[in-house]
């Protein structure tokens, strides 16, 4: 069956370090993958989209990689700040469809 896995354990890192979050999937052939941020009690907010033919995408301090052979995406936040503390969700979509399937998310805590 199709499965999206994100680390359920919270990731604690020190301010200024690079945070790396993982999204693994099985039995999918996604056309693109998205990352969202969710703060407590609020809806997710879109961060980045990467297509299957792209290896890497950057936006300011954020970087996403997409390895369709490993069936994995990595999400990096460089020079992390306490304000980056949130839950980060990955979401996959097949080509031609408008439906996303979300992972369960990983909580990131950036400490001073």
């Amino acid at each position: 069956s199709q499965k999206i896995e994100q680390n359920s354990e919270a990731l604690n890192i020190q301010e200024g370090k690079t945070a790396t979050l993982t999204c693994n999937y099985t039995n999918y052939s996604p056309a693109y993958l998205q990352w969202y941020r969710q703060d407590p009690g609020r809806g997710p907010v879109f961060l980045l989209l990467i297509r299957e033919n792209e290896k890497e995408k950057r936006k300011e301090r954020l970087k996403v990689t997409f390895d369709t052979t490993l069936k994995q995406s990595l999400f990096h936040i460089t020079a992390s700040q306490p304000a980056d503390s949130a839950t980060y969700l990955c979401a996959l979509a097949a080509g031609g469809g408008n439906k996303l399937t979300f992972g369960t998310g990983t909580q990131l805590k950036v400490e001073l």
């Binding site: 359920s8 809806g43 989209l49 439906k99």
Partner: protein, 114 residues
């Protein structure tokens, strides 16, 4: 800025009541979605709609129905609320093409069924 609003932030209902959750978006998006979010289970798709009066079942439609009479409004209906429907409900909208299918979410409605 895209805005997706949901009728209530918090709602408390009794078992057996009919519950309406309303979602409105102001960006003329064709697609609208209802999810529920539970700890450890993540976001699960209940129903979605590609156009007015069109609806499709998501992954967990049992116990729910939807209505989309106008493009901007998508309603989720719990015909007879049960305690296992206590959850955070999130509405989202998006616009084709599929290559840029970013979903915009509302703030969520935390529903408690007693």
């Amino acid at each position: 800025d895209v805005k997706v609003t949901q009728s209530s932030r918090y709602l408390v209902k009794r078992t057996g009541e009919k519950v309406f959750l309303e979602c409105v978006q102001d960006m003329d998006h064709e697609n609208m979605f209802w999810y529920r979010q539970d700890p450890g289970l993540g976001l699960r798709l209940i129903y979605f709609s590609y156009d007015v009066k069109m609806k499709e079942k998501g992954d967990i439609p049992e116990g729910y129905s939807v209505s989309r009479e106008k493009k901007e409004r998508f309603s989720l209906i719990l015909e007879s609320a049960s305690t296992n429907q206590t959850s955070m409900y999130l509405c989202a909208s998006s616009s084709p093409p599929a290559s840029t299918d970013t979903q915009y979410f509302g703030p969520g409605t935390r529903l408690t069924v007693l």
